[in-house]
Point group: C2
Chain length 111, copies 2
């Protein structure tokens, strides 16, 4: 697997992380990525009515903010949550957001 | 004072709140608004190197997401954090974000 570039833990800043979480589709993708680490992009986007180009943009925003790691695995891209890096850099940030996201109405429309 | 329109507590959703927090200038304005409720927009933006039109846009995004209430007070606009509404709608969300924001590097550049 070939990892895509991502910011180092110590260079992560809060606003881009919140921005990456501040979209209903990305919030749902993050929730799914945390629930199923190592899944492919297409597995995680299953059932979401979002164009492929929009999804690619969402994954890039999440990777560049430091929320996820992406690696090329043959024809797939696999996603791993950067749970450890985020927990150390921003302790206490993600758990309440993921819990609250799970209680939001389901996402299905294009964004 | 004439209040500007804002969403009802029960209609607040998580992604717009995170989006409103997902910008370094807005994050700093929110932090200041929570520290000094009832301040005017210009008091809260003191020292930030951001054009007035950009600031207006930031306040609108924060008001429409439900983070703050705005009221016209003569020639000023006063800001109140919607701490109670947010605490009831999204328990546990804001306190860690405000604590982490206080530890971020200071914002001064235009955004």
């Amino acid at each position: 697997m070939r990892p895509l570039p991502e910011p180092a833990r110590e260079s992560l800043t809060l606003a881009p992380v919140l921005h990456a979480l501040g979209d209903p589709v990305r919030l749902e993708l993050v929730r799914r990525a945390w629930a199923s680490p190592g899944s492919t992009c297409s597995e995680l986007a299953d059932g979401l009515d979002v164009p492929m180009s929009t999804l690619s943009n969402h994954w890039r925003i999440m990777r560049e903010a430091g929320l996820i790691s992406m690696a090329v695995d043959g024809r797939n891209r696999r996603i791993r949550p950067r749970a450890d890096d985020l927990g150390r850099r921003f302790p206490g940030l993600l758990d309440p957001i993921l819990s609250l996201a799970a209680a939001e109405p389901p996402v299905s429309a294009a964004s």
